[in-house]
Symmetry: C2
Subunit: 330 residues, 2 copies
């Protein structure tokens, strides 16, 4: 059983309060935005059996909730500033859970240069549930939208696609080619499902060179559709170019490849970069030590993106993970 | 059963999207803060059986979730600007529920001059659950804190105290002096439990004259303790001065009076105003058509506030509503 609300704030969240939070002893926080910056705001709620599994380590739940928000900021060319946290606590949550949850946040404060500005703790009948609103600063007028892409722009993804989906499959004990991975390889992918790695190091390159960008949270193909709809164009994705987790490339049949390209939990960046800036973008990414891979191009038509495998249409049974009642990600 | 996530956004939330929300078709929103203002940020999560009851009208749930945040802004001397919304949707939510929920928000957009900047929709196993982060603008350096009070300051409350608690007691069918109220009187108090009335009209007066202020959400006495702890002083509350809902004054025994002074869901403002400014504050409140009542003073000592009834200590079995596992407000 958890302690009461005020004890939770005192013991676990007050030590995390940053500048403008007034020690979490006020009704609200104050966020000072640099005069030469735009304030970028994003919010995500993470729930059990949708974004994390019962029994997942609490520090990973905290970090996932925070990082899915930081991932949105990174894809908009915005540097993390601060966040507010609402935590729904259920009967099964104890002090050890709360301590580990707070410790997960604390580690990420240092890692991402972000601070806690405020919060709310509520007792709920089924939880835990975490809602975070995160704030970032982008260069004035420089927030990168989904809507800025043009036909001819090169499409890039950061990192690899499918690590989160494979991690979840491993946690559920689903048979598949991932069973052939080493124990360390499997652990790494489970880690990626539980704790995304937002590409904050890529933020300056996105802000400087990308015409459009977004974070991939619901599947590469469907999220690419969202970017092309917003940009009023289409795209071609060459599936054989899509970077896959170590040890899986070349081992996937077509349905499994299609599944990884349409599953959630990647939290990588999809960026469109004008051809003339592509080399500079790649150089900036290299300098930032973030792998980026050309996977296709934006094209003229406005129908959904074509996904090709060796030049032929890849058969996809869906385009993205869609949250629907009764069939979450678990 | 609810429609899928993208349909919910398309049908119900996109029409509410305001400036900087990019039609809810991006990863994040942009919030432009006036150059001469400070950005004030608050967040509150409202959950079933804690803040609202199963079967409550969905428009009232939406308005309660939004208004508890607006109430925080009002007490800080901040004018509402925008908000982001995370909605946890459970299996029992249907299109009619969502339409009414969105309609409740829409009405409050007009009432409070606030706009939707972004959001997230998640399917949850027990819901609905609503998390809102709201943004307001205060005059530069002018956010009113809990910590600015001084001994001698006059303590004011807006409106009446206990309406929400009585409304909840009526909804639960609890016996009490409220049974003697007219049907219209009972309905009005139930309405106040379901939908608070944040005192935004009082915001300029608070910003100009109050040394410290907060919104009363967890009970007058306990919330006053929070203000005095933050201000490093104590207080005396004269219970007989505390304004009660119409028809209840003079009908309450001591335990029931104590209960109303320590129950949640008031969402009125508690403000400390230096004696020299008290007349100006009262005049400004009158001009804004918000009732404010002197209920006591801040005092020197640092022990908890004294609550007097006709000069003698009022016996209180608690000082505030505290969220605790397993015993929410319902």
């Amino acid at each position: 059983m958890p302690p009461d609300e005020l004890s939770i704030i005192d013991r676990y969240f007050r030590p995390l309060a940053g500048e403008g939070a007034f020690g979490l002893a006020d009704d609200a926080g104050r966020l000072d935005v640099p005069a030469d910056a735009d304030l970028v705001v994003t919010t995500d709620m993470v729930a059990m059996k949708v974004h994390f599994l019962p029994g997942d380590p609490p520090d990973t739940i905290a970090q996932k909730a925070l990082r899915v928000n930081i991932s949105d900021l990174a894809a908009k060319g915005a540097r993390p500033l601060a966040y507010v946290l609402s935590l729904g606590v259920s009967e099964d949550i104890d002090e050890a859970w709360l301590a580990a949850f707070a410790q997960g946040l604390k580690e990420d404060h240092e890692r991402y240069g972000i601070r806690l500005l405020g919060g709310d703790t509520v007792f709920v009948h089924a939880g835990p549930i975490v809602s975070i609103t995160a704030f970032g600063s982008a260069p004035k007028g420089g927030m990168v939208h989904r809507s800025g892409g043009h036909p001819g722009d090169v499409l890039y993804v950061s990192g690899t696609i499918g690590a989160g989906a494979v991690g979840l499959a491993l946690l559920r004990g689903e048979p598949g080619p991932w069973e052939a991975l080493s124990a360390a390889g499997r652990e790494a992918l489970i880690g990626r499902y539980r704790v995304p790695e937002p590409r904050t190091a890529l933020t300056p390159a996105i802000a400087e060179f990308a015409s459009a960008a977004m974070d991939i949270s619901d599947g590469l193909v469907g999220d690419c559709d969202k970017l092309t709809v917003a940009s009023g164009c289409s795209a071609t994705i060459e599936a054989e170019r899509v970077p896959l987790p170590d040890g899986l490339a070349g081992r996937l049949d077509e349905p499994t490849l299609g599944r990884l390209l349409t599953s959630g939990d990647d939290y990588e960046v999809l960026a469109a970069v004008p051809q003339a800036r592509a080399a500079a973008f790649e150089a900036a990414a290299r300098a930032a030590d973030v792998a980026v891979t050309r996977i296709g191009r934006l094209t003229e038509a406005t129908n959904p993106a074509r996904v090709l495998l060796e030049g032929c249409a890849l058969r996809l049974s869906r385009r993205s993970f869609v949250h629907e009642s009764g069939r979450g990600r678990s």
